[in-house]
């Protein structure tokens, strides 16, 4: 019995230990920090969407718009459909991921388009993580068939948001000044178009000059400066009704309008005997409030997204620079631009963290951004004459006017907030003074 006890005890205690020793130790896990990567656009495959029955010819062209949107963003690289080795036959089946890894696609978008019996268009899509072999997103939209481009932009926005964590900006519009005719006799018309340059519409007939258009927060109203009757004044254009009205009954010229974030007020500049100052008009009561009284030129007001501060340009310090004041006009001496040259046309980012501006230095105009406190100035564009920045609603991309030497036609360009991915925006002819709308609701 004693032997048995000893034997059993031996195995009971030593057997596990022996097992551990023989199989080797289980090593402690190794910690790894990855702090450097390889910033490349995400390769994404977007095959033509599948027509489910009658699609009204929309399946292929919706995918085409999504490919163009995402490719233009610089975040993605839309793979050429000619390189695809697989063919999607049903968006409700998981794809054969190996066939998409072959062409190095990391993302895959499958979609389906159908005309419903009630005449509406149904667009469904799924976003797949090819290496993780999982669905990242899946949504469907219903709309009237003529809105097929907007649905395509909404699909692009959904994909963009899933991959970046940031709202997209494809379902937005641009208001701008269309320029035609010779340089000496240029016709300037107010126009709007989709963010990708599609669907341009002229809002004015060109019989009077228009400048500096700005969207209100619902993208239904445009404030701009016009020379109707030979005098520059600020007007409002209502996209819903097509009507325009003069903003206020000021004796002298008004210019440089900008809506408040809540859309209830417009800040603008009023000129009086050579002295320009900033005013705010309440759109409901039409009462105005004067914010600056300095004998210098104060102009180009732009609101912080919380509506509490206004950034503006002023030459009160001797040269044109950028200042910030509270919305009641207090604290006006906060100059935030200190770099070389003159700095103007400040625009507060919709995200609140940055201010974009135009820098004039050594005979050229460039687009720059700085933090809201004036630190971290960075020049984003290096054209000859780049000016008048406007922010995408997600605060990641800017558009601006670019003009070459010798009075060459103005163009609209975009660039991201890091200064990458600069490209020309398609416009019908020459164009300037873009203003980006919020995401359309």
């Amino acid at each position: 019995m004693k032997k048995l006890f000893l034997t059993l005890a031996f195995f009971a205690v030593l057997a596990p230990l022996a097992a551990i020793l023989l199989t080797g130790p289980t090593a402690a896990a190794i910690a790894v920090d990855v702090t450097q990567g390889n910033n490349q656009p995400l390769p994404i495959a977007i095959p033509d969407f599948l027509p489910a029955g009658n699609d009204g010819g929309n399946a292929a062209r919706i995918a085409e718009v999504v490919r163009a949107d995402l490719g233009r963003s610089g975040i993605f690289r839309s793979l050429d459909p000619k390189a695809f080795v697989d063919h999607i036959t049903d968006i409700n089946l998981a794809p054969n991921f190996a066939n998409w890894r072959v062409i190095n696609a990391q993302g895959l978008v499958t979609g389906e388009v159908a005309l419903m019996p009630d005449g509406r268009l149904r667009v469904a899509f799924r976003l797949w993580d090819v290496y993780g072999q999982s669905q990242m997103d899946g949504q469907q939209f219903f709309t009237q068939p003529q809105n097929w481009r907007r649905v395509a932009h909404m699909v692009s926005d959904a994909i963009y948001e899933k991959v970046t964590g940031e709202k997209g900006y494809f379902d937005t519009r641009i208001v701008f000044i269309s320029e035609t005719g010779a340089a000496q006799n240029r016709v300037k018309r107010l126009a709007v178009m989709d963010e990708d340059g599609a669907n341009p519409i002229f809002l004015t007939n060109g019989s009077y000059m228009v400048l500096t258009p700005r969207f209100n927060p619902t993208a239904q109203m445009i404030a701009y400066m016009s020379y109707i009757g030979g005098k520059p004044r600020v007007y409002l254009f209502d996209l819903e009704t097509g009507k325009q009205e003069r903003l206020g009954d000021f004796p002298n010229m008004t210019f440089s309008p900008r809506f408040s974030p809540d859309g209830n007020s417009v800040a603008l500049t009023l000129e009086n005997n050579g002295n320009s100052d900033i005013y705010v008009m309440d759109l409901r009561s039409r009462q105005t409030r004067r914010l600056t009284t300095d004998p210098a030129i104060d102009t180009a007001p732009s609101w912080s997204p919380d509506g509490k501060q206004i950034v503006f340009e002023s030459d009160r310090g001797g040269s044109q620079q950028i200042y910030v004041m509270n919305v009641d006009g207090s604290g006006q001496q906060r100059r935030i631009s200190f770099g070389p040259g003159r700095n103007g046309t400040p625009v507060w980012s919709p995200r609140g963290d940055k201010i974009a501006f135009t820098k004039q230095n050594a005979g050229t105009f460039a687009i720059g951004v700085m933090n809201a406190d004036g630190s971290g100035e960075r020049i984003l564009s290096n054209g000859y004459e780049d000016e008048g920045p406007t922010w995408a609603p997600n605060g990641r991309v800017l558009m601006f006017t670019r003009q070459g030497r010798g009075g060459s036609p103005a163009q609209i360009w975009e660039v991201d907030v890091f200064g990458h991915n600069a490209l020309r925006v398609a416009t019908p002819g020459s164009a300037s003074d873009p203003a980006w709308s919020p995401l359309i609701q």
Partner: protein, 255 residues
């Protein structure tokens, strides 16, 4: 395994009352056994829990090698995963505003956005399949690493960390620029198979922040895309698990 000792000891308990002689024999046996147990545990744990050092002794640059690896494994043969996904949500009642379509006025449009399509669960199945394939290797025939010095072990760990890091780096394209950059720091518990393929990835960073979710996806894509990892087969026990595998894009923001 842990329950075995108590079971066997209870079955070996003598039925009769103990005699005077038994403690005398039992004591030395017990002492020897305990001594062995303590010594074994010390030997094993002494080498197993050597703290990994943070500073890396010899940076290993394997970028070129990793790229070749990617090319070589670009098209692994694999059975297509075909599963029936749940049906899409039924269409809702049509309530789109009619358009008057004026000349200059751009259309005001309302587009309904439906509930998200349900997510088909393919990854879990694949992961569990992979897990079945990734049994640890058989018992080592030679003497265990217990005799290695702690310094050598941590140098080895640092070297393995560098090897993994340099192979993941070419595949990692974080989308920088979140309002709070710290939201984009994400950590994982990565288990590898002996052939360097991914056995499992567990996300250690749990957050509903969309920037964090996007950062998790970007890091996971990098881990999968650059696998399999080339690490010395002889030391699989060291590199079977990386934890935490941490991705921090803050230094990359302005690139």
């Amino acid at each position: 395994m842990p329950s075995a000792p108590s079971l066997t000891i209870s079955s070996a308990r003598p039925r009769r009352p103990t005699t005077a002689r038994q403690p005398i024999i039992g004591l030395p046996v017990s002492l020897v056994l305990h001594g062995l147990a303590v010594a074994s545990i010390f030997l094993v744990f002494n080498s197993s829990f050597a703290p990994p050092e943070e500073n890396h002794a010899v940076p290993v640059e394997l970028v070129t090698l990793a790229q070749e690896t990617n090319v070589a494994v670009a098209a692994p043969e694999e059975e297509p995963v075909k599963r029936d996904l749940p049906p899409l949500e039924p269409p809702p009642l049509p309530e789109i505003r009619a358009e008057p379509a004026p000349d200059v006025k751009p259309p005001k449009i309302e587009i309904e956005k439906e509930k998200p399509l349900t997510r088909p669960d393919t990854r879990q199945d694949i992961t569990s399949l992979l897990n079945q394939l990734t049994r640890p290797p058989g018992p080592a025939k030679t003497a265990p690493v217990a005799s290695e010095s702690a310094g050598l072990a941590s140098a080895m760990n640092a070297s393995l960390a560098d090897m993994l890091r340099s192979q993941i780096r070419p595949c990692w394209s974080p989308i920088a620029g979140a309002p709070n950059p710290a939201d984009q720091i994400v950590s994982f518990d990565l288990h590898l198979n002996p052939d360097g393929t991914v056995a499992s990835i567990e996300t250690l960073t749990v957050s509903s922040n969309p920037y964090t979710a996007a950062a998790v996806s970007a890091a996971e894509r990098a881990i999968y895309q650059c696998a399999p990892y080339r690490l010395p087969a002889s030391s699989y026990n060291q590199w079977r698990q990386f934890r935490p595998l941490r991705f921090d894009p803050r230094q990359m923001v302005q690139q």
